[in-house]
Structure formats: structure tokens, C-alpha cells
Amino acid sequence: MMLLTAHLPILQVILPLIAAPLCVLLRGPRLAWGLSVLASWGCFAIAIALLRQVLAEGSVSYALGGWAAPWGIEYRVDVVNAFVLLIVSGISSVVLSGARAGIEAEVAKDRIELLYTCWLLCLAGFLGIAVTGDTFNVFVFLEISAISSYALIALSGRRRALIASFRYLIMGTVGATFIVIGVGLLYMVTGTLNMADIGARLPAVAESRTVAAAFAFLTVGIGLKMALFPLHLWLPNAYTYAPAPVTAFFAGTATKVAVYLLLRFTFTIFGADYAFATVAMEWILLPLAVLGIFSASLVAIFQLDVKRLLAWSSIAQIGYMVLGISLVSVTGLTASTLHLFNHALIKSALFMTMACVFYRIGSTQLADFAGLGRRMPWTMAAFVVGGLSLIGIPLTVGFVSKWYLILALLERGWWPLSVFVVLSSLLAVMYVWRVVEMAYLQPATSNAKPCEAPASILIPTWALVLANLYFGIDSSLTVGIAQRAAESLLGVSS
């Protein structure tokens, strides 16, 4: 075991990467599921070990193939990406554990093991983006995760999923192309692809137009990937028509990894001085975040499909993260990093309840939720707790995120914006209430019987819900890590 601890950064990526082709070879839906669950929990264990190692000893570096950085590909883990690795692998493990029944119900039988293969490849891609310290390697993993997510969405039996997947493919490819153009321009001026190395060389050439163009391309490309308003139009359909467990996986991971990329490129590579003093990025991010929160929440209120409603709410939540980033303060970045974790818990829990509902009812249309509070008491109770967390009621993780965001806003003296954040929560109350009202206060259709979801989906759903409450009550662990991450991004030592 002593031997393997030195290889944790690479094991994080190759475990799902090796399990993925094994799933194809196993040729059994159940076997493939079992193997993917094992691989995913293995990743989670590695992520925990890495985070502990990083918290204790500082950042970890791994030279792929024995080629030293900056020539070879370097995997570099500090508090920020160790935290992201933990989020991604954790969400994937819990959701995957409860995914079997939902996926067998939604996906054609001969394609189920391919779905798990894509899931693992996608996981490997997300983890790879987070773990690598090489900008071109970021692009490679971005494509691995993106191409497998297009397939994951299209694997749902519905025909609309194909169009949703194709639209995502077009937008995702534009985003990835912009990112690779940005990386290319950076390589042109610095002659290196290693993140830390680029970061060290950029200040000398910061005046050039090429660097400004690289910054613009990268910001727009990453903005597309994270569904930053107004580049978000691919997201609602992709989330609505993907198989329900896949949506729960994406909601907690895909956009989070993109937000991490924005943090990494802005703070580690370009540096806060360049991004916010020379280019004044906060005056682009701040209005977009505010507009995104407001308009996406407003659109969410009028949705007729609950999955789509939650998807629009996700776009609004991205706004909160970006709002925290645009404050360029330790508290602001703490709020953003914290919300990465907290929103992953909230949305994965909520989308897991959608998996429960879809499994029993075969639809997530709001009209079909009538009387569901009686028919599926545990599922709807999970939805209510998740919804409260989304709104930001005290004792839930949503509250902790908003608390820190408001603190950060007040620190800058921007109290009108903190009022706006509180008011925007009222919009969340409205869209969550519409579902709750339909489920609990509307009578069910005449011959509806109780039809609680099976325990195999309910247990992981409730695990996520309880995590919402646990980290909402005892936030010292997550806030502590988020704070250290924020300090390391801004280069302030505590």
C-alpha cells in the first residue's frame, strides 16, 4: 500500500478509465453496474485520501511517465482541486449506487452496459480535468467527458433526447474549441503548457494582445461549459431529456468542474491582478451573474416539467457561484467554492427524487405530481427538504452558502446586492412551492394507489438529503476547506 499512496493522483483517473472498457467486456447490465459502483467508490476513497494528504502536507505533484514538469504532463493537486475531486467522485458514487433501477427502466436493454461505460469515462474526464496541471491535458479530458456526456444524454429512449444531445454537442464543441484556441494562444506567448509555468511567465508578456485574446477565448469557452448566462441554452433540454439518474450525476458534477476551470484559469494562470485589475473581469461576471440569477429563476417558475424547472434553477445557482468569484475576496471565493459542494448536494438530491418519481409515474410533468405527497411520501419528503435547502432555509447547506455570499457582499459594502440575493431566494420559494403545492394540496386522480419508490433508489436519495442537513448544521469541515481553497487561489496565506 505504501507503494500506491505516491500514485494517488493518477489512480484517481485511471481507475474509472480502466473500469470503463471492462464494463464493455463484462456483457451484463448487472455486472457492469456492480463494477462501476465499485470503481466510483474507489475513486471517492482515493479523493478522500488525496484531500487528507493535501490538507496535511500541501500540494501534491505527479510526473506522468516520469517526465518532469514543465516538459511532461504534471498532475498537481492542491486544496482547490482536491475538494472538487471529492465532490465529483462522491456525487457519482452515491448517484450511481441508486441508478440501477432507474436506468433499467429508461434505457434499451442492450445498451445498459454501454451507459455505465460512458458514465465511467465521463467520470474519468471530470476527475482528469480537476487533477491535471497541464492546460492541454485539460482539453483532452474535457473532450473525454463531453463526448461521453453527449452519449449519456442520447441513451435515454426518448427521441427529444437526441436533439437535446445534438444541441449540447454543438455548443459543447464550440466551447471546447474556444478553450483549445485560448490554450494555443497562451502556448504561443509563453512556450509552455504547464499551468504553474504559464502562470510564472505570463506577467512578463501580460501587455500583449495575444494574452488578452487568450483570456477572452478561455472565459467564453469555459462560460459555455458551465452554462453561464447567456451561454446556458443547451442546459435545460440536456438535463430534461437525459435519463433521470444521469441528470442527477451531471447536476452535481458537470457545471461544477467548469466553475473549477474558471477559478483555475482566472486565479492560478492569469492571476487575480491580470484578470481583475487589467481586464476588469468583475464588470463582466457580476452583471451576468445577477441577470442569470434573476432571469433563470423567473423562467423556472413558469416551467411545466419539474426536471426542466430544476434545470433552470441550476442556471440561476451558477449565477451565485459566479457572483462570489466576481467579488475577488477570500470570503467571496469561499462562498463560491462552498456553493460548489453545497449545490452539488442539493441538486443531486433533488434530481434523485425525480429519478424516483420517473421510475414510478413515468413522467416528471408538474400536472402528474398531483397527490404525489400521499402516494410517494418518502420521495416527496426528500424533495421538500432538498427544496428548502435550495431556497436557503437555516439548518440546510443552501443557507450556509447564501450566508457566506451575503457576508462577502457586505464586506465590499454592496448591500443592495445582498438584498437582491435574499429577494432572489423568494423566487426559489415560488418554484419549489409550485411543486410542493401540487404534490400535497391537489387531490390525486381517482384510482391512484400508493407507489413509493424502491429502497434501492430511496436510500441514496436520502443519503444525499441527510448530507444536506448534516453539512448545513455542522459546516466547519466544508467551510474550513473552502476557506483554505480561497486563500490558496488568491495567494494569501492564513
Partner: protein
């Protein structure tokens, strides 16, 4: 199929040459231009040409979609396996230098098997794409 007689004869003559050239590009890739990706594409081109002229069904009797699926996965596993072997031999992931006593020989073996994995996967993916559109 009678009126395709010229095509059929020419294809039969060319096919072994195409496959042989693919293998040359594959196994000579570490000394000259070439490598697994190009070799895989060339090999698949041979198979696809056969499929175009003699029909997809005939090609599927030579190599079935199921076999292709297995090959696709095994190629990736071979690549990743060589990397993991590096870890077990005491180096980093994908460090070929530790695969043999002499680091130079190790690098040689490492890239040989990694490129073989690439070649197998690329050839089978290309042929699968052909099946997906023609089948």
C-alpha cells in the same frame, strides 16, 4: 454482383497489400513515420473496402460487431495496462523506462504495446462506425 467484377478482382489484389502496409506502419512506427493511429485507420480502410465491395454481411462474417466491441475495449485496456505495469515495476504511470533492465529497451517495449493498443482500438472503432452507418 457480377457487374462489379473489375472492382472485386482489384480489391482482392489490393486487400492484402493494404493490410500488410497497415501492419508495417504499426510495427515500424517507432523507427519511421507512423504509429498506432495511422495503422489502425489503414487496417480499417482495408476492411471497409472489402465491406463496400462484397457487402456488409460478408464483412460481418469475417469480423462480427461483437468481436469489434471486445477488441475496442481490449485496445484501451492494453494501453492502460502498460501504464499500470509501469507503476508495478516501480516507476510512474506510463513510465516505460522501468519495463526492462535497459531503460532504452524498456521505452521501446512500452511504446510498442501502447501503440498496438491504439491500433487495435482505432481499427475496430473505424469499422464499427462503418457498421453503424451501413448496417
Amino acid at each position: 454482383m457480377q457487374h462489379h467484377i473489375v472492382l472485386q478482382v482489384v480489391a482482392k489484389v489490393l486487400l492484402p497489400l493494404i493490410l500488410l502496409y497497415a501492419l508495417y506502419v504499426q510495427f515500424h512506427g517507432d523507427f519511421g513515420p507512423g504509429g498506432g493511429f495511422q495503422a489502425g485507420v489503414l487496417f480499417a480502410v482495408g476492411l471497409i473496402l472489402y465491406g463496400l465491395i462484397y457487402g456488409v454481411d460478408t464483412l460481418q462474417r469475417v469480423i462480427s460487431p461483437d468481436v469489434l466491441r471486445t477488441l475496442m475495449a481490449s485496445g484501451v485496456l492494453l494501453y492502460a495496462g502498460v501504464g499500470v505495469l509501469g507503476i508495478f515495476m516501480g516507476g510512474q504511470y506510463l513510465d516505460y523506462g522501468v519495463l526492462a533492465q535497459d531503460p532504452l529497451q524498456g521505452q521501446h517495449w512500452g511504446i510498442f504495446f501502447v501503440e498496438l493498443g491504439v491500433g487495435i482500438t482505432v481499427a475496430s472503432v473505424m469499422t464499427s462506425l462503418f457498421y453503424a452507418f451501413a448496417g
